[in-house]
Symmetry: C2
Subunit: 180 residues, 2 copies
């Protein structure tokens, strides 16, 4: 099983690191893709290595897309490769987990029409304008989509993301294998 | 099920936040205790609320003790209440998870004689002098004790900590209940 985190500098550190470590706890391989390959610095100064440029990503190789928040999504939403990646996950019905400002990328990718979702409160208006049904909850799950509002929601966000990865449509077996 | 994190300002942010959120993902209640009640600031600027003073802690109420690293353990190891808490967990054979500089508290509590453990490399010498059998591994499990070296070890650290909480000595049932 493989997960992709799409990030850029000024990511919200805990919203990237908590999913990253949680997925690796399950022996899931995690790639980090950004506008360019190389070191990204979070708002709190943590550094992570983007091992892929967005343009290099083959989305169909991944079982999960994670979109952390912070100031990164404002840059990423203007990158056509980031939007193409998000669209690919929605077309294939594959899990997408977006938190805080992360759903801004989904707004720009125009994949939220009729979907229940949440996000940072400052993003709620544009989420609604993009056709989403906004809920002010710690986590909202709608099909392949898991969304949360902020770092304090990370326990619920990761609980539902892991549950989605384990759902009985073939992925559960892969997760069991990865956890051996 | 209940976990206790012992911390102070200048904790290593990810070494506190990752276990904190991971335990809450399992619906485990988590208290944070420090020298005094109130707000603690991590090295990277994250703020967490210590809801208990160390002197108020009743260690027998908890199933797990977590000792994050950073500069906090240097202050905590001089606090007799912190050492008494650590000793209580070892006397009862209850899980203790310590990472990076966290094991310094266990050195001062004199509970490491003959125990296999790891820690930040700068702590290795004093760990050995305290009678521990030091290993340079991402995670070392010896009975009730789980130790790791640094933030990059967090996936292995949490994998083994969760495994210890689930082991079949009565705690597994509690965890299953907590996860409902």
């Amino acid at each position: 099983m493989r997960a992709l985190i799409v990030a850029a500098s000024l990511f919200e550190d805990s919203e990237l690191l908590v999913p990253y470590y949680r997925l690796k706890e399950e022996d899931i391989e995690v790639d980090i893709a950004s506008i360019r390959k190389g070191t990204l610095a979070g708002k709190h100064g943590y550094r992570v290595e983007a091992n892929l440029a967005l343009a290099e990503v083959e989305p169909e190789r991944y079982d999960l897309l994670v979109l952390p928040g912070g100031d990164a999504p404002a840059a990423l939403r203007r990158d056509p490769a980031a939007l193409a990646i998000a669209k690919s996950f929605f077309e294939r019905g594959k899990p997408v987990a977006a938190i805080c400002h992360g759903p801004q990328i989904l707004v720009s990718a125009e994949v939220l029409q009729g979907r229940k979702a949440t996000c940072h409160r400052s993003v709620a208006e544009e989420l609604t304008r993009a056709g989403a049904i906004y809920e002010d909850s710690e986590v909202v799950v709608d099909g392949n989509l898991v969304t949360s509002r902020e770092p304090a929601d990370l326990p619920a966000f990761m609980r539902e993301t892991m549950r989605l990865l384990r759902r009985p449509d073939g992925d559960a077996e892969q997760l069991a294998q990865a956890a051996v």
